[in-house]
C-alpha cells in the first residue's frame, strides 16, 4: 500500500480507488433489459432475455434456469471464457430469486467491447444493472471489484490492463447488498483468484478494501435506478421499445 500511496498510479488514483463509472440502461432495444457499462476504458454491453420459456433439459421444476454467454471482442469464444461463464452463472443463480418463477429461463448475454483491466468485475456489474433494467426479481444487488496483487505486499483495486499484467495475482471479489433477505455478515457471493497471493493477512485486508469498493459500486447502481425512475417510468421495464 505504501509504495503506491507515495508514487501514485499511472492515472493518478490511490491504491484503493476505483475508476469512474458510466452507464446507459436500455441500450439494446430488443432485449428485455440491457446496459452498457464503462469502467474507465473497460467497456461491456450486457443484455438480459427473460423470463422466457425454458426448453428441454433447461426446464427446472422449481427454479429459474440461468444461462450466461460471453462474446469476446474478437474471434470466437475460447475455453477460458467458458470458465468465466460458469463463474458468472454461479453468482447470478444465487442472485436471481429463482423460486419465484419456476420452469422459466433467464438468458444473460455479454459482449466485451474493450478490455482495459477488471473485465470480469465489469461483466458482473453490467449484468446486475441489466437484470434491474429488465425488472427480474433478485435476492440482493450484486457488485464486484478486482484486486491486483503486486510485489512488496502491495495490492491495487480496479487495476487497468497494464497493472493487471504487472501483478502476480488477480482476484475478483463480489458482494451482495441489501435485498428482501438481508444477511449483512454473509454477503460474500463470489470469489476467484488467478495466481497466488503471498500472505493471508494481505488477502484478508484486500477483502475488506474490496468490500468498501463494492459498496461504492452498489451506491452507483442505486443512483442509476433512482434516476431511471424519476426521469421516465417506462424506461425501467424496457418492454415496449
Amino acid at each position: 500500500m505504501s509504495e503506491f500511496a507515495s508514487l501514485g498510479r499511472r492515472d493518478g488514483r490511490k491504491a484503493y480507488e476505483i475508476r469512474g463509472f458510466r452507464c446507459e440502461l436500455g441500450y439494446l432495444e430488443r432485449a428485455d433489459g440491457s446496459c452498457r457499462l464503462e469502467q474507465g476504458k473497460t467497456q461491456v454491453v450486457a443484455g438480459v432475455y427473460g423470463p422466457l420459456e425454458a426448453r428441454g433439459r433447461n426446464e427446472l421444476p422449481d427454479k429459474t434456469f440461468v444461462d450466461v454467454s460471453i462474446r469476446p471482442c474478437q474471434g470466437y469464444a475460447a475455453d477460458y471464457l467458458r470458465l468465466r461463464e460458469r463463474e458468472l452463472k454461479e453468482i447470478f443463480v444465487a442472485t436471481i430469486a429463482a423460486e419465484l418463477q419456476p420452469r422459466s429461463c433467464v438468458s444473460l448475454v455479454i459482449q466485451i467491447i474493450e478490455n482495459d483491466g477488471s473485465l470480469k468485475a465489469a461483466m458482473i456489474n453490467a449484468c446486475m444493472l441489466s437484470l434491474l433494467s429488465a425488472g427480474i426479481p433478485c435476492n440482493w444487488i450484486a457488485s464486484s471489484c478486482t484486486v491486483s496483487y503486486h510485489s512488496k505486499d502491495t495490492f491495487l483495486l480496479d487495476p487497468t490492463l497494464v497493472e493487471e499484467l504487472e501483478g502476480h495475482a488477480t482476484a475478483v471479489i463480489s458482494y451482495g447488498f441489501e435485498g428482501p433477505k438481508p444477511v449483512p455478515s454473509h454477503n460474500l457471493i463470489g470469489l476467484s483468484c488467478s495466481g497466488f497471493v503471498s500472505s493471508k493477512d494481505i488477502y484478508f485486508s484486500s477483502l475488506s478494501y474490496s468490500q468498501e469498493a463494492c459498496k461504492k459500486v452498489y451506491e452507483f447502481i442505486q443512483l442509476v435506478t433512482k434516476r431511471s425512475q424519476t426521469i421516465d417510468g417506462e424506461q425501467l421495464s424496457g418492454i415496449d421499445h
Binding site: L83, S185, H186, L188, L191, S194, G195, F196, S199
Partner: protein
C-alpha cells in the same frame, strides 16, 4: 434406523439427512468432518510409453497423468500463443472420459476438465523453472506434453489430479541429449543415466484443498473436507483453498452458489492448513 429407511430419507430429503450427521460431528460414511479417505500414489512403471507417470487415488476418485518430453525448436516456441512463460514449455490436456462416471458423455470437453486444466497450468507456472528446459540456447528446448485422465470420479477430482501431477513430475526422467559444436544436430546419449527435471523446492509447491461449507442458517455452518460426489451436491458452497507449507502462496476461489463470510473463510483456512502440512510431509519423506 434400518438400511431401507436410510436410502429413502436420503433420496427424499438429502440435505436434512446430511445435516443430521453433521450435527453429530460425523458423516454418513463414518468419517469425521476433516478426515480424508485413503490417499494412494503410485509413480512410474505403469505407463511404459511415456517418461514420467503417476496414478493417484483419493477414495474412489482415480487420476492418471503421463508426461512425455519432446524436443522443440526455438521458432515454434516463438510462434505459439501461450500466455505464460511456462506455458510455452508445457501443454496440458485433461480429459474426463465417459468411463469415469455414469453421467459423463464423451465429446465436448466438460467444464470440470477445463477448470482442472487451468488450475494445473497455474501450478506448473509456480513450480517449474524456465532455464531447466534449455538444451541448446535459442535453438532447442524441452517441451512437456502432460496428459491427464480421470479414470473414476467420486468427488475431489482436483486434489487427485494435483497429487498425480506431482507424482509424475517427481518420477519424470529426461534423457541426456548432446549436440554437435554448431548446435544443429542432436543426439540421444543412451550411455548416460537419465536426469530428473529441476524444479523449485518442495516447500514452495502449492497444494489445493477443496473445502465444503454446509450452511444451514446465518449462525450455523459446518466446514467439511474431502467431499465425495454425493456430499458435493449437498454443499452450499465449495471453496478451493490453495496454499503451500510456508504459507506464502495463497489463493481462494469459490464454487457453487452459497453465501460466505470472512469468518467461514478463516475457518476453512485453518482446516486446510493441517492437511496441507501432512500431505507435503508425506511427499518429502517419499522423495
Amino acid at each position: 434406523m434400518q438400511s431401507l429407511g436410510w436410502d429413502v430419507w436420503n433420496a427424499v430429503r438429502p440435505k436434512e439427512f446430511y445435516k443430521g450427521f453433521l450435527q453429530r460431528g460425523i458423516r454418513p460414511d463414518g468419517r469425521k468432518l476433516s478426515e480424508y479417505r485413503d490417499i494412494t500414489l503410485r509413480k512410474g512403471s505403469l505407463v511404459t510409453t511415456v517418461d514420467g507417470s503417476a496414478n493417484a487415488s483419493i477414495g474412489r476418485t482415480i487420476a492418471l497423468i503421463g508426461i512425455q518430453p519432446k524436443v522443440i525448436e526455438w521458432k515454434e516456441i516463438k510462434k505459439g500463443d501461450a500466455r505464460t512463460v511456462i506455458g510455452k514449455h508445457c501443454s496440458v490436456q485433461v480429459e474426463f472420459p465417459s468411463v469415469c462416471h455414469r453421467e459423463t458423455r464423451s465429446g465436448r470437453t466438460s467444464e470440470e476438465a477445463l477448470l482442472v486444466k487451468e488450475s494445473l497450468e497455474y501450478v506448473l507456472e509456480q513450480i517449474l523453472e524456465e532455464n531447466s528446459f534449455c538444451i541448446v540456447p535459442e535453438k532447442y528446448y524441452w517441451h512437456l506434453q502432460i496428459i491427464a485422465y480421470c479414470l473414476s470420479l467420486d468427488g475431489n477430482a482436483i486434489e487427485t489430479f494435483l497429487l498425480a501431477l506431482y507424482g509424475a513430475l517427481l518420477d519424470l526422467q529426461l534423457p541426456v541429449v548432446l549436440s554437435n559444436t554448431s548446435g544443429d544436430l542432436l543426439k540421444l546419449d543412451q550411455s548416460q543415466p537419465k536426469v530428473k527435471l529441476s524444479t523449485k523446492k518442495l516447500e514452495e509447491w502449492p497444494w489445493v484443498v477443496p473445502v465444503g461449507v454446509f450452511w444451514t442458517s446465518p449462525s450455523e455452518h459446518y466446514v467439511v473436507l474431502d467431499l465425495s460426489e454425493e456430499e458435493e451436491k449437498n454443499m452450499s458452497s465449495i471453496i478451493w483453498i490453495w496454499n503451500n507449507q510456508k504459507g506464502d502462496k495463497l489463493a481462494l476461489s469459490k464454487h457453487k452458489e452459497g453465501q460466505l463470510s470472512e469468518i467461514i473463510l478463516q475457518e476453512g483456512l485453518e482446516a486446510a492448513k493441517a492437511h496441507i502440512e501432512e500431505v507435503m510431509l508425506r511427499f518429502q519423506s517419499q522423495k
